[in-house]
């Protein structure tokens, strides 16, 4: 299964990014093959509106079934829920730390958005 982790870099040692919609990118990590790929989300950094929605689309297009990020707003949450992507809150320094925490079952699934929408 593929999991998406928000990051400012492009490999497993890159820093974990707390923001979701305006995260510079994602690492898509495959828990079976242990392979990963980097997905660019930088076009959303300066989006006037709807960054969370487009970031959610990027996660869905990459085929991830799980998102690990610091926060998730209401519109992104709605889109991900509709696409049956599970969202987990993490507090981590690097992508690999976030992945390990997820794999070992240390993260809690979010049942609702944890930050307000912003404009």
């Amino acid at each position: 299964m593929k999991i998406a982790v928000t990051t400012t870099g492009n490999d497993l040692n890159s820093p974990f990014e707390n923001r979701f919609g305006r995260a510079p990118g994602f690492i898509i990590y495959d828990t079976e093959t242990k392979q990963f790929e980097a997905v660019d989300n930088s076009m959303n950094l300066n989006a006037a509106q709807g960054a969370g929605i487009q970031a959610a689309m990027n996660v869905i297009k990459a085929g991830a079934k799980v998102l690990v990020s610091g926060h998730c707003g209401p519109k992104a949450f709605t889109v991900l829920k509709q696409a049956e992507v599970k969202i987990f809150n993490a507090n981590a320094a690097t992508v690999s730390e976030a992945v390990e925490k997820y794999v070992s079952g240390m993260l809690i699934e979010m049942k609702s958005a944890d930050v307000d929408g912003h404009w």
């Binding site: 006037a48 509106q49 929605i53 689309m57 297009k61 509709q82």
Partner: protein
């Protein structure tokens, strides 16, 4: 003729000036309160014949029975208001700018426009002032559609005073851009000056004649005065820093009750604006 009262910085006295300006107009006047996120003009007027109308914007409604899941509606939307990753597309009404692109590109006409109610307009009469005020519903982020509806209340027969929202973003620009003259109300503080400068740059881009009113004027106005002098901006009027004016305005009274000598100055200000703009209605 339309006169917009704007500021940049909030709390400088836009509504105080707008009400006083409307009260001293040469004839019948329309006062349009466009600060739809925090309208307050009604607090200073005793309104009669009050009516309310709802304001809506058009948003897409997708008929899931006829939708063929092509995703074209999501592709064309520049505001990310439609998301598509399978059937049916999801619509986020609060992001929609009502351009209707989705409806036009839909190959099977599965999209119709339906009203999404986002606010209301309250109108009433107070003496010679014909007053309208926009009120954006709580939770809706887009103020400009409500502002545009308030501005449509201008009937073209009377002079209009527009009480603009603060700041220099979309809301303020929507409120002032069709006006013939802009009055920027400021105060002699570094904040007041900073925001005045931004507001002046904004109005210049819109090519509308502009003048400045200094509110809460006291010794130490030099900052703003120097800026106005250096930039060829006319200081239209000064409202003194006065406990009496503050007290009267904070209990629903108006500037003219607080400072009767300003009545003549406001009447002269109307004349000046008529003269500057050519005076057309």
């Amino acid at each position: 003729m339309k006169v917009a009262v704007a500021s940049g910085k909030g709390g400088t006295g836009k509504t105080t000036v707008s009400i006083a300006l409307a009260m001293t107009s040469p004839g019948m006047v329309q006062l349009l309160d466009c600060d739809v996120e925090e309208p307050n003009g009604h607090l200073f007027l005793e309104l009669e014949n009050v009516i309310e109308e709802r304001v809506s914007v058009d948003v897409p409604l997708i008929n899931t029975d006829t939708c063929i899941s092509c995703g074209k509606c999501a592709q064309i939307c520049q505001f990310n208001a439609i998301v598509f990753f399978g059937s049916p597309p999801m619509v986020f009404n609060e992001l929609c700018h009502s351009y209707g692109g989705c409806m036009r590109v839909c190959p099977v006409s599965a999209i119709t426009e339906v009203p999404n109610f986002i606010g209301k307009i309250v109108s009433g009469r107070s003496g010679r002032i014909d007053f309208s005020q926009g009120i954006l519903d709580i939770g809706f982020p887009m103020a400009t559609p409500v502002i545009r509806k308030v501005l449509k209340k201008a009937d073209g027969n009377n002079d209009v005073v527009i009480d603009s929202p603060p700041g220099t973003s979309c809301s303020m620009i929507a409120a002032v851009k069709e006006s013939d003259f802009v009055i920027l109300v400021t105060e002699s503080t570094p904040f007041g000056l900073n925001d005045l400068m931004i507001a002046v740059e904004t109005i210049k881009k819109l090519s509308i004649p502009v003048g400045v009113i200094i509110n809460r004027s006291m010794a130490g106005d030099d900052l703003v005065e120097k800026y106005c002098e250096d930039n060829n901006l006319k200081i239209l009027m000064k409202i003194p820093y006065s406990h009496k004016i503050a007290k009267i305005c904070s209990t629903g009274g108006n500037l003219i009750t607080g400072a009767p000598d300003l009545k003549k100055k406001l009447e002269d200000l109307w004349k000046f604006i008529f003269w500057t703009t050519g005076g057309e209605k």
